[in-house]
């Protein structure tokens, strides 16, 4: 089972929920930090990284002696990563989305496989939880290919919890697509609600069942709850705006470490998620 913890708005508590959930699950659960632009689950799980692998992606390399400057590669590229100036082919590797179209259309077989480094994948064990995290190369603008590699590195037999990046753009989609459940962490503020709506819209397009965790639940107003009711989104957990939680967070400690009674709440959350997945598959069958 894959649970992706997403949010829309940044800073709502994705990592807090993902790490506490993973630790509460016990053995057989892997945490994937797919927020590869700023992975931070390691700050709480403190994994000892024992393996690291560089991840690359395809970029075209042109053999100028074979190239006839026919422009077919430039015409097919939607991202201007390859262009022809007079008789010269110019490649802009950092713009390439690795579709390989240029290679397919080249009538001279002048394009071979080159590589651009995307970042690294790291493996480690932290607080009893296997952690796999991606770290994007500084200067690299495309994170989805690295996110997909992090996801592919996980054992599919395991319970997988994904700490997704914030927002609603390609990186988030890469961290949510194919998941069994999206746990949306939000806060009862106007910003929280605004970005939650956008993120829920994206999840609905993906057709994945979704539920909410309201963090700092006792501040702000009731509009997030109203929205959840109207959209029939189950509120699965509320975490209070508690100084003890904030203090623990600031020291790199999880809620379940300072308030062990929360372990049970996170386990219940997992049970509820399972029920929601079941209910949603029933609803789909009924339709």
């Amino acid at each position: 089972m894959i649970i992706s913890v997403a949010s829309g708005k940044g800073g709502t508590g994705k990592t807090t929920v993902a790490t506490n959930l993973a630790v509460s699950f016990g053995s057989g659960c892997t945490l994937l930090d797919c927020d590869v632009e700023e992975p931070n689950a390691h700050l709480f799980l403190h994994p000892h990284i024992d393996r690291s692998e560089t991840v690359t992606t395809f970029v075209p390399v042109v053999d100028e002696s074979r190239c006839s400057a026919c422009r077919k590669c430039a015409d097919i590229c939607r991202f201007c990563a390859i262009t022809v100036i007079g008789e010269k082919v110019l490649v802009f590797p950092e713009l390439c989305h690795s579709c390989g179209g240029c290679q397919v259309v080249c009538p001279e077989n002048a394009i071979s496989d080159g590589q651009r480094e995307l970042g690294v994948i790291e493996w480690g064990m932290g607080t009893g939880v296997p952690v796999i995290q991606g770290r994007i190369r500084v200067g690299e603008a495309m994170s989805p290919p690295l996110i997909r590699k992090v996801r592919a590195a996980a054992d599919t037999e395991d319970q997988i919890i994904i700490d997704a990046p914030p927002g609603t753009s390609c990186p988030v989609i890469a961290a949510m697509r194919g998941a069994d459940f999206i746990l949306m962490v939000t806060e009862p503020t106007p910003f929280g609600l605004h970005d939650l709506k956008l993120a829920v819209g994206a999840v609905q397009m993906l057709g994945i069942p979704c539920g909410l965790v309201i963090n700092r639940a006792d501040m702000g107003d009731d509009r997030v709850r109203g929205y959840a009711l109207a959209e029939r989104l189950p509120i699965l957990l509320e975490i209070p705006f508690d100084r003890k939680i904030a203090e623990a967070y600031s020291c790199g400690r999880m809620i379940v470490e300072v308030m062990p009674e929360w372990k049970e709440k996170f386990r219940e959350l997992l049970q509820q998620i399972k029920v929601e997945i079941l209910a949603s598959s029933w609803r789909r069958k009924e339709r």
């Binding site: 939607r78 991202f79 201007c80 990563a81 262009t83 100036i85 010269k88 110019l90 713009l95």
Partner: protein
């Protein structure tokens, strides 16, 4: 000689558009006769990426030898360099004034991009 000038309109009296890749129009002006064609650059204005590369390829195909514009990013500059097109940056005023300045030898050509790449 053909001079490419980025412009906010389609006339010689139009103000220079400081953007290169996402300029509204690009005028290709013959510096001897002041005849010109106005290229519609609207396809590039909303391009996801590589607007400068596309615009540079376009003016190269039009036979321009000089580009007068405001800012030019690294990818556009590399493309223009490969095309052998000289770049006069920080251009202001109208298209006609820019071409006049070039003809008087008052344009200094850039050695490098004068704007950061953007994502």
């Amino acid at each position: 000689m053909k001079i490419a000038v980025t412009a906010k309109g389609k006339e010689l009296s139009s103000p220079v558009d400081p953007r290169f890749g996402r300029a509204a129009h690009i005028l290709i002006v013959d510096s001897e006769t002041m005849d010109f064609v106005a290229l519609d650059n609207s396809g590039n204005v909303n391009a996801l990426k590589g607007a400068g590369i596309q615009a540079a390829t376009m003016i190269c195909e039009q036979g321009a030898e000089v580009l007068l514009t405001g800012y030019c990013g690294p990818n556009a500059f590399r493309t223009l360099e490969a095309a052998g097109i000289k770049v006069g940056s920080d251009t202001t005023g109208t298209v006609a004034e820019a071409v006049d300045n070039f003809k008087r030898g008052a344009v200094r050509f850039s050695e490098a991009a004068n704007a950061e790449g953007h994502w």
